[in-house]
């Protein structure tokens, strides 16, 4: 690793800092400057209140160099809040943080960086109108005024990306990237900035299985070299594979602390949800209904102006769940957009029950009874500043019974929203609080509640369980299967192979805008899908 | 009655705009100086360009018992027509205007065209390039009167002269006026004029050039540019104000249309003494002759 210009390997060995050579590395050095490595971190009795919510209720955690602590908990349990406190984004109302036995007040993220804390945030912290390189440079040069050497940053990124096998396009603008790609950029950013305490808040929610495995291996290696890691994930097999300790939160309180090795994935799930969780597995059906959704040779452009869909043909039958597997960024977003009318179809046809819907307006397609759970839940699936109840009626607000004689029927709407909130167990202060205040998992529940309750003929669900806790995932799977039983046509886009294998009747693999193959339930397995997702056919 | 008379003035711009508003303010101050501060009280409200604010000010002055309220702008006519009947004991005045719908409204009306005619003559006689530029604000009211008189004066003495008019579209934008003046100059004009408070911006531009002259109106604007302002038409509002006060004292609260002309000394033409060499006696003679004709009515300016 000699001559590696990446700052990363030097972090865990403070003594080696002097090995960074060359005048141009002076800047990086300044960035990496830290008083001492974090040998021990303790957060003690942390309390954080938000108006109406007690997000952290006297939480204490402890971590030593080389340990990997997994924090588990349902959506909204307080994990992110706790980490935001550690990173200086929030200030705790009570409690203290000790680093190497000394109390520190972490005022700002900048301060946290200086202490050697790095964080991968759950909601991406990327600037969409800057390139990947510029995003990383922002952190590396946060103290500089003039000096800015993007070529250098590019090189660092490429090195890290190679080392951790996280593919990125350094000169692409972030707004052009899929969620999966953004997730990789987030990770690369944290790795480039370097830290000896790394906080990862659901870093794998949008990674492929291979990338996840790679990341886990690398994280372990880092920990071995003395880096401490806090890892938040709802994917318990990852937790099991990676962490040395776990801490389970519920309603802002620590309900369990212990060693990972003492638990199996199942017992972890139980600890977390407070009950036994069993993800459903669909049984094969003897017969399916008619083709409800059909795509014939569909071509559509991506945001970069090139064809992201290159002749996609597929059908979904009534009573069937068709899965779309693939590494994100291979046309999934465009596929879902094209079907729902949010993206122009340049060539080809889309039919719903023999009626052509190609390039109809989104409203017309909604009227053809299409339900859509979009990838971007925060800004596309919901209107964050609108209340939960307003979001619940987003697609049927203008027809009876929500609107009668030209006026919205407040009572009906409230009852409806309350019913959905209850039915889908959305955790919220009330139906009039804004969607922005919900946790990601609960936002997803709002969307699912809305889309499923409209009783669509076709449901397109993009990454429906990304970021959901295991209890909620279980819940979503049951709902999707319920839709299948009700003879709906369901199209599920996901990278979770387990999820697809559990619930789909057929799985199509998308690669570079083309459907490589459609596998039936018994043909599909992790390795066959994995190869196809990597573009290997035959 | 020897008690104190209270006069209020409502003006669209400021008392130091070197133009329309200042002319009236100085007129009132002159009357006050003559009568003595103990005999006359003066209140001023500036920048009441819009009619709503002016309306409030006028009403407030009326309620406070001011006896003469001068709303110094044509745009206030409508307001006075409404307010005056409610305060029959108070005299109101506005100008430029003619209508005196209530018996307690004075309308005053400077004949801007008269002085403009004389200024036009000077311009026509002084120009070498035969190009004269006018920097106008908005093509309306006094500006039209001024321009008409000016063009006729210039043409009368110099049929070959090309009088070019350009408007800024605003009364107060003196930077735009300066720009128009520069454009005029670059396009060959060597004598310029213009009206309203924006024109001070244009006057200032003339300083940058040699052998360039400005003819000013409303006030004597020589002080702005002593080397280029040749002559000025000056409104003597002092007499107008006095007439109104006298008329009021005589029991007539209004109902009069007061004109300001050379005939009644409401207007005067002043020359820049420093530039006496530029205006020869020949020019002066011609101008004074025309002024005489304006006074005796033998010279009529076409206002169609």
């Amino acid at each position: 690793m000699r001559g590696d210009i990446s700052p990363f390997p030097h972090h865990y060995h403070v003594g080696r800092r002097d090995r960074i050579r060359g005048a141009e590395t002076a800047l990086l050095q300044r960035n990496l400057f830290m008083p001492e490595a974090i040998q021990h971190l303790a957060m003690q009795h942390i309390v954080k209140r938000f108006p109406g919510v007690l997000a952290c209720d006297r939480i204490s955690i402890e971590l030593r160099a080389g340990e990997i602590l997994a924090i588990l908990g349902e959506n909204g349990a307080g994990k992110t809040t706790l980490m935001n406190i550690l990173y200086g984004l929030y200030h705790p109302d009570e409690g203290q943080i000790l680093i190497n036995g000394r109390a520190v007040k972490i005022e700002t993220p900048r301060h946290a960086c200086e202490l050697g804390i790095g964080m991968v945030h759950q909601h991406f912290m990327l600037v969409p109108n800057l390139t990947v390189v510029e995003n990383v440079a922002l952190g590396l040069y946060n103290r500089a005024i003039f000096h800015l050497d993007l070529n250098r940053v590019r090189k660092i990124i490429l090195d890290i990306s190679q080392k951790y096998r996280l593919a990125v396009k350094p000169d692409a603008y972030v707004w052009q990237l899929s969620v999966g790609e953004q997730q990789r950029v987030e990770l690369i950013k944290a790795l480039c900035l370097g830290a000896n305490l790394l906080v990862l808040d659901e870093p794998t929610a949008a990674l492929t299985p291979q990338e996840t495995d790679e990341l886990i291996a690398q994280l372990k290696e880092m920990a071995r070299q003395g880096c401490s890691i806090i890892f938040i994930s709802h994917k318990l097999n990852e937790v099991k594979a990676l962490s040395s300790h776990i801490c389970v939160l519920r309603n802002g309180q620590v309900v369990y602390n212990g060693n990972t090795s003492e638990h199996s994935v199942e017992t972890l799930a139980e600890k977390m949800a407070g009950r036994e969780v069993k993800l459903p597995i669909s049984r094969e059906k003897a017969a399916y209904g008619e083709d409800v959704l059909a795509l014939q040779d569909v071509w559509a452009k991506g945001d970069q102006g090139t064809f992201a869909l290159q002749g996609v043909s597929l059908t979904v039958r009534a009573g069937e769940i068709l899965g779309i597997a693939g590494v994100s960024g291979n046309g999934q977003r465009e596929l879902a957009d094209a079907i729902s009318g949010l993206r122009r179809v340049e060539k080809g046809h889309i039919f719903v029950e023999h009626a052509e819907i190609t390039n109809l307006t989104p409203q017309q397609i909604i009227n053809h009874n299409l339900g859509y759970v979009p990838e971007d839940r925060l800004h596309e699936g919901t209107i964050p500043s609108f209340s939960i109840s307003e979001n619940m009626i987003m697609k049927n607000y203008d027809r009876p019974p929500m609107t009668r004689s030209g006026f919205l029927q407040q009572k009906t709407i409230s009852l409806y929203a309350q019913e959905l909130v209850n039915k889908f167990q959305v955790k919220c202060p009330g139906i009039y609080s804004s969607c922005a205040s919900l946790s990601g998992g609960n936002i997803q529940k709002v969307i699912l509640a809305r889309e499923l309750t409209r009783n669509p003929k076709i449901l397109v669900a993009a990454y429906p369980t990304r970021g959901l806790d295991i209890g909620a995932t279980e819940y979503v799977h049951y709902r999707l299967l319920e839709a299948r039983e009700a003879n709906k046509a369901v199209l599920v886009i996901s990278e979770e192979l387990d999820e697809l294998l559990n619930i789909c009747d057929r799985i199509a693999v998308i690669y570079e805008g083309k459907i490589l193959k459609i596998l039936s339930k018994h043909e599909a397995n992790k390795s066959s899908l994995g190869l196809l997702m990597a573009g290997v056919t035959g | 009655a020897d008690e104190k008379i209270k006069v209020a003035l409502v003006i669209p711009s400021t008392i130091d705009d070197m133009a329309w508003s200042q002319a009236m303010y100085e007129g009132i101050k002159a009357v006050q100086a003559e009568l003595g501060e103990d005999k006359m009280e003066v209140a001023v409200s500036e920048r009441l360009w819009n009619a709503v604010d002016a309306g409030a000010a006028i009403r407030e002055y009326a309620l406070q018992g001011y006896q003469l309220i001068i709303a110094h702008g044509a745009q206030y006519q409508s307001l006075l027509n409404e307010i005056a009947p409610e305060f029959p004991k108070i005299s109101f005045a506005y100008g430029t205007g003619f209508a005196t719908e209530s018996p307690n409204i004075f309308a005053y009306d400077p004949h801007a065209q008269e002085g403009a005619y004389l200024l036009g003559m000077i311009a026509g006689l002084k120009t070498k390039s035969n190009i004269i530029g006018i920097v106008g604000p908005v093509e309306a009211g006094d500006a039209i009167k001024f321009n008409k008189g000016f063009v006729q004066g210039a043409k009368a003495v110099n049929p070959n002269v090309d009088v070019r008019i350009a408007y800024t579209g605003s009364f107060g934008d003196l930077v735009a006026a300066a720009e128009i003046a520069r454009t005029h100059i670059k396009a060959g004009a060597d004598v310029l004029t213009g009206s309203s408070q924006q024109s001070v911006g244009a006057i200032n531009v003339t300083k940058e050039f040699d052998k360039l002259f400005w003819l000013s109106t409303d006030m004597n604007q020589v002080s702005i540019s002593p080397k280029t302002v040749l002559a000025a038409q000056v409104y003597n509002f002092k007499d107008t104000v006095k007439t109104m006060l006298d008329s009021r004292a005589a029991g007539e609260l209004g109902g009069k249309h007061l004109e300001l002309s050379f005939a009644n000394n409401g207007l005067s033409l002043v020359y820049n003494e420093e530039l006496a060499a530029e205006i020869g006696d020949d020019i002066k003679a011609k101008v004074e002759e025309a002024k005489g004709k304006l006074v005796d009515g033998s010279l009529k300016i076409n206002m169609e």
Partner: protein
């Protein structure tokens, strides 16, 4: 004749564009950083007064320009305290600042000057040799020094915005302040810096009007130019070259309409006066293909603990 006309039009347009460019560049930094300042007009007025007054008393043009920038910086700071520290709604604060600037400049002018007074100010500079060139000499090389400085500021602004670390931070916090914050960029500090810089530029723009163009001060001398400058930032899509293009287009149209008026036209002059405004809108409409959505966080205060 045509050549002569073009010479006149271009040579008058260039100084005209200066105040728009100066104020526009300043506002560009504000907006890139996520705050928009409708108070530019007020800052320009106060800058115009300060510049005028300083030159009037100290007879130093350089001090005049510097004083205007200093006052502009203070006004920018006032805006920053209001919208950044106190998270005031930017639209209202801007209008408030506009009124403060107008009011104070008018008041001080009345108290300390009290009438039309002209100053020598900065006058056109005939660049040796170049200014004697036929045609181009008159068009481009007979302007005052501030004109040349302004046109040098355009590439400088471009460089600062796109090639320096500070510019990168500015662009980031105008779009996603939270992301920049997590990377250790101090959102508030940079927004403060931008507002102060923008204030300085607006102050300078105002001083240009009083010191270089009008050689005097009068109440409301800017006559809405500050608002035009803000509008031109949108025309220029937050890009220095775009802003320059917009300012030049607008100024050229103004020069052209004045030129046409001067040469006598037979239609209502209002059509001429309106021409530049119409032209700017139409040109922008015809060039609408640009992708840049601009600084998306424009107008929203940033507070770490707020969400939604």
């Amino acid at each position: 004749m045509l050549l002569e006309a073009i010479t006149v039009i271009i040579s008058t347009a260039i100084p005209l564009s200066v105040s728009f460019i100066l104020a526009g560049l300043g506002e560009m930094f504000n907006q890139r950083a996520g705050t928009f300042n409708l108070g530019v007009e007020g800052i320009m007025l106060l800058g115009a007064f300060t510049g005028f007054y300083t030159v009037h008393h100290l007879h130093s043009n350089v001090l005049g320009l510097l004083a205007a920038m200093a006052v502009g910086a203070v006004m920018g700071l006032l805006m920053a305290v209001s919208v950044i520290t106190f998270k005031a709604t930017q639209g209202i604060a801007g209008i408030g600042l506009y009124m403060v600037g107008w009011g104070i400049s008018g008041t001080l002018f009345r108290i300390y000057v009290g009438g039309i007074t002209s100053i020598e100010g900065i006058t056109a500079l005939h660049i040796p040799v170049l200014s004697t060139l036929p045609v181009v000499g008159a068009m481009f090389f007979q302007h005052d020094i501030v004109v040349y400085i302004t046109f040098l500021l355009i590439p400088l602004a471009w460089y600062v915005l796109f090639k320096t670390a500070w510019g990168l931070k500015v662009r980031a916090i105008g779009t996603t302040p939270r992301a920049a914050d997590t990377l250790g960029v101090s959102v508030e500090r940079i927004r403060y810096q931008c507002l102060i810089l923008g204030g300085m530029m607006a102050g300078l723009a105002g001083a240009y009007l009083s010191i270089c163009q009008a050689h005097m001060f009068a109440d409301n001398i800017t006559a809405g130019r500050g608002f035009i400058a803000v509008a031109l930032v949108y025309f220029g899509k937050w890009h220095p070259v775009g802003i320059m293009g917009g300012a030049l287009l607008f100024s050229l149209a103004h020069s052209l309409q004045r030129f046409i008026q001067v040469y006598g036209i037979n239609f209502p002059y209002e059509f001429a006066v309106v021409f530049p405004y119409v032209l700017v809108i139409i040109v922008l409409a015809l060039s609408h293909k640009s992708k840049d959505a601009g600084p998306t966080a424009l107008g929203t205060p940033y507070e770490r603990e707020f969400r939604g």
